[in-house]
Amino acid sequence: MQVNEYKPLIVAFCCNWCSYAGADLAGNNRLSYPDNVKIIRVPCSCRVNPMFVLRAFQRGADGVILCGCHPGDCHYTSGNYYTRRRMALLFSMLDYLGIERERTRVEWCSAAEGAKFAQTMNEFTEAVAALGENKRLEDLRCKE
């Protein structure tokens, strides 16, 4: 295979009701974003266990982004409020351990914000690409 420029691996967790629909809308409008963004559908952003984020890093993801409904718009009324606290603390902890803070992000994206979704993914990928590979959290044994 030819040698490509470095492409970071981005895992995006998207809630079913807002952000996943927002990603679909980005598709409907043909708004492109890097193909290294891979979306995992969850019912609500509050379904995302910090362990999933850590697991993604462990398995070699270079950046993890969580997308959910805007605060106040959660389909389940309060799910994203819990997400907001959990991720604020988790990301602060990762930063404390010396993991580059640019690798983690939470973005609220509604079903109508296809453009915002695509733009967010472009920006995030760029930011992660600037950092290079995730060496600090990756478990190299998983790369075989």
């Binding site: 603390l89 803070r101 992000r105």
Partner: protein, 331 residues
């Protein structure tokens, strides 16, 4: 030197045992060495008279023992709880892990416990015996003829130097004086120091610390917040199962997951760092969460009240955004 004496505790224990208030006493018994005390149940007055120990090495937090010890016993257990232990005890009550009616809590005031590794750093290895005298700890090593004296101040455990509270938040009866909370304890000093470093420096610091981990699980086993019926690290379906990892990396994962698991529930008792055979400052992970919770969501002390809602199972509509975490710190 503790102002509470062994006699105060044993006479209380024996009288409560004799009048039937309690059917067992949770106390300390001598272990391998005189400074290595083991929490233990006493059922008879004779046993207490002969084997009950109380001195400056009674750091162990009894609250976790009560989770299992109260199950298979008729009647109440008498537990001597230091101020910091009562916070953990309350937290376990909040989580319905202990039946309050099965425990008779005697709060005992605490003047700070000694840390054997600090003593060892002063006297050197080979400690054969330590006695607690009014003017200091008399430490006898196998290499010296005369015992060396270590002052209580020099021997005091780090967690006791920045003790958050000398107040008992739960007791049936109190021995000694009731103390006060100490909001100026500066327990987050080291955390702030780390926060001020560059990410690379922090990473280097933690790699240095966590790579020493031998995954003995002592931190988890002693932690009063870790009382799960089945720990996620033992559960093949949890996605986090791992008992004896091969690389330093997984120690890091283990400690992040563990710290997150107890976030909002950790009372900052410091047992994790006390028992760590590799002297990893694990409490700095927990304190980071506590510090963040306090700054992001307002002061919260786990275990201060029974039934309080932990910050991670609570929210306000105006909470700060994860992206603001770093703006806020001006970093």
């Amino acid at each position: 030197m503790q102002r509470i004496t062994r006699e105060m505790l044993t006479s209380k224990a024996i009288s409560l045992l004799n009048d039937g208030t309690v059917s067992a006493v949770l106390g300390w018994r001598e272990g391998e060495f005189s400074y290595d005390l083991t929490p233990s149940l006493f059922y008879t007055a004779e046993d207490i008279e002969q084997n009950f120990v109380f001195n400056d090495f009674c750091g162990a937090n009894f609250s976790k023992y009560l989770v299992t010890k109260t199950l298979g016993i008729e009647g109440k257990i008498l537990a001597f709880l230091k101020p910091c232990d009562t916070y953990s005890f309350n937290q376990l009550l909040t989580e319905h892990r202990i039946d309050r009616s099965k425990v008779y809590v005697v709060g005992i005031s605490c003047d700070g416990m000694a840390d054997i590794s600090k003593i060892r750093a002063i006297t050197g290895d080979g400690i054969s015996s330590i006695s607690c005298e009014p003017d200091g700890l008399k430490v006898q090593t196998i290499y010296d003829d005369e015992p060396k004296t270590v002052s209580y101040e020099d021997a005091m455990a780090e967690r006791c130097i920045c003790c958050k509270s000398k107040k008992h938040v739960c007791y049936d009866e109190l021995i000694g004086e009731e103390g006060e909370e100490n909001p100026d304890c500066n327990r987050f000093g080291k955390v702030a120091e780390l926060e001020a470093m560059t990410p690379d420096e922090r990473f280097a610091f933690w790699r240095g610390e966590l790579s020493r981990c031998i995954r003995c699980n002592a931190c988890r086993d002693v932690c009063p917040a870790c009382t799960c019926e089945k720990c996620v690290f033992n559960n093949p379906n949890s996605g986090a199962e791992n008992k004896a990892p091969a690389t330093s990396f997984e120690e890091q994962m283990f400690h992040i997951i563990r710290a997150f698991h107890v976030a909002g529930r950790c009372t900052d008792c410091g047992e994790c760092s006390r028992v760590c055979p590799q002297h990893i400052p694990l409490h700095l992970l927990n304190r980071k969460f506590i510090k963040d919770i306090n700054t992001f969501y307002g002061e919260y002390q786990a275990g201060k009240e029974v039934g309080s809602r932990a910050p991670l199972v609570d929210y306000t509509t105006g909470d700060l955004e994860p992206g603001q975490v770093f703006e806020r710190e001006g970093m």
